[in-house]
């Protein structure tokens, strides 16, 4: 065979591994989750029971779905004003300046810090602050986890939003300025409407990040296998219950944890797909 053919075949085979890998992941998750779904049926999703006692085993994912959704959405809400002002700072107010470059690198650094370091820092630095507010006894809970989660997803929302804001044509902004609009008015009536779908997509993709985040949340949410009773109450997320209990699990419990993993996989894939779809329509 000629070098050309060998190269083409090699490249093609390597692309096949992605196909096999993706199929393998889906099949393995389904296979592993099957016993739990066979045992509990659809109730596995709607039930919030979590009882590993042998003989009366019962597992349901609802507490963890609720915990995941609540912490992620709360994190997103906290993240929005931060990411929004930072992306305006970088791509509008100080676009192209040194200051903007420095801020951009600092935000990138936030993305580089490992999850476990965030968790540990949250445990020792943030949790005492939460206790000091008097809103929670131990400092663990949904709000503490969401706060750290918000800091972790800010860079993802910021870099994409900033990129999209900087793509708004200068001609449009100039047209508004030439009509006497102030900068704030230009931002709200020209920049944001033009960049709207892109900004929304960047927040959806940041949400996708938050949903799957494991270590930092595990260390701060309090690990109570119930639907959180309030913003300062403990709970557990899908990712963190897997991290906490997988090691000691077997049989039906292992299957239940894999089933939670499957659900998490489907939720994040859906959210990411939505974000990518909006981006593609925008571009």
């Amino acid at each position: 065979m000629s070098g050309d053919r060998v190269t083409k075949v090699l490249l093609f085979i390597s692309s096949l591994t992605i196909l096999l890998l993706s199929a393998g992941i889906v099949i393995s998750l389904f296979g592993g989750a099957l016993p739990a779904f066979r045992e509990f049926g659809f109730r596995f999703i709607t039930s919030s029971a979590w009882n590993p006692t042998a003989g009366s085993e019962e597992y349901g994912a609802m507490s963890f779905i609720a915990g995941t959704v609540i912490t992620s959405i709360l994190a997103l809400i906290i993240c929005i004003p931060m990411a929004f002002s930072t992306s305006l700072f970088i791509a509008e107010y100080y676009n192209g300046t040194r200051t903007s470059g420095i801020l951009r690198s600092l935000v990138d650094l936030l993305a580089g810090i490992p999850s476990i370091v965030y968790g540990f820092w949250g445990f020792y630095a943030l949790r005492p602050l939460m206790v000091a507010t008097g809103l929670t006894d131990q400092g663990f809970g949904v709000f503490t986890a969401s706060l750290v989660l918000a800091i972790m997803i800010v860079p993802y929302a910021t870099s994409l939003s900033a990129e999209i804001i900087s793509m708004v044509p200068a001609e449009l902004k100039e047209a508004a300025y030439s009509l006497g609009a102030t900068r704030r008015e230009v931002i709200f009536s020209v920049v944001i409407p033009s960049a709207r779908s892109g900004i929304i997509a960047s927040f959806i993709l940041a949400l996708g990040r938050a949903l799957g985040e494991t270590m930092a949340v595990t260390m701060l949410i309090g690990n109570a296998n119930v639907i959180p009773k309030g913003l300062f109450a403990p709970g557990n997320t899908m990712a963190s219950v897997i991290a906490n209990q997988f090691g000691e699990a077997s049989g039906l419990k292992m299957s239940a944890l894999i089933a939670i993993g499957l659900l998490l996989f489907l939720i994040t894939a859906l959210v990411n797909y939505l974000g990518k779809l909006i981006i593609k329509r925008f571009a």
Binding site: L109, P114, V117, F123
Partner: protein, 296 residues
Amino acid sequence: MTEMYPVLTDNISRRNRTNIRFRYLVIAGSVITVIPIFLIVGNLAVKGFRQINLAFFTKPAPDTFQAMMAASSGEIIPGGIANGLTGSLLMVVLASLFAIPLGLMTGIYIYENSSLKYARFIRNLTEILQGVPSIILGIIAYIWIVKNITRGYSALAGSVSLAIMMLPLIIRSTEETMRMIPVSIREAAFALGTPYYKMIYKILIPVSFSGLATGVLLALSRILGETAPLMLTALGSPAISLDVTRPVSAVPLLIWDFYNDPNMVSLVWSASLFLMVFVLSMNLLARSVASKHKYI
């Protein structure tokens, strides 16, 4: 038609004030956003510095009794993170051996065949794979390797989960780097009668080398800090081990172990400081490689 223009009755000074206020709001929001980075780096540097010495890098983690004795007498905890360093190194090297060549080739395949439906499908799969939470890759490596191949927690399982994480990152960065190469360079190569594979080895890869290096470095800095999938696969081990079929530790796994042991608190600070500095410098290195060779 009469020419009637309205008297302009807006309040210019009020609008100017709102404008300035909004600017301050944006600056304040941006400052709040970057405060955590200073707090985290500052906290870790101050509290983690004390434990960083030669033994920290050359000795494996102490047991809880040694740590307790040292802590109660106010001394530095003996031991370090050597077992984590070797474990991390072992798994990252294994993962790279698998993911870097495969990622480069797949990335080139997608770039070269971007008109094919199949290639675009592979690209979409890569994007989905990139969004999969790392803990799920831990489950996968557990099912595939721990349960069926090594019959127990192992370094191999850990590196498989890390490799699946790296793969989409490298594929995407390869494809994006290649797409920045001007078409004229490829055409010039073909015009000289260069065969396809030589064009790839002699033109595409060398021309885009710094971009590819950036992608690899960024992917490495991502997996170096990963903890969750390793908890399900490599598990951790108190001893220095290079056996891929046996459990090994890793720096982030050690942080998790130290964190769960109240006697080891000061070691967590040091290990976290080390991990953060290491990952961030890798990150910065990647970005400086990228900015030095911006034209590609």
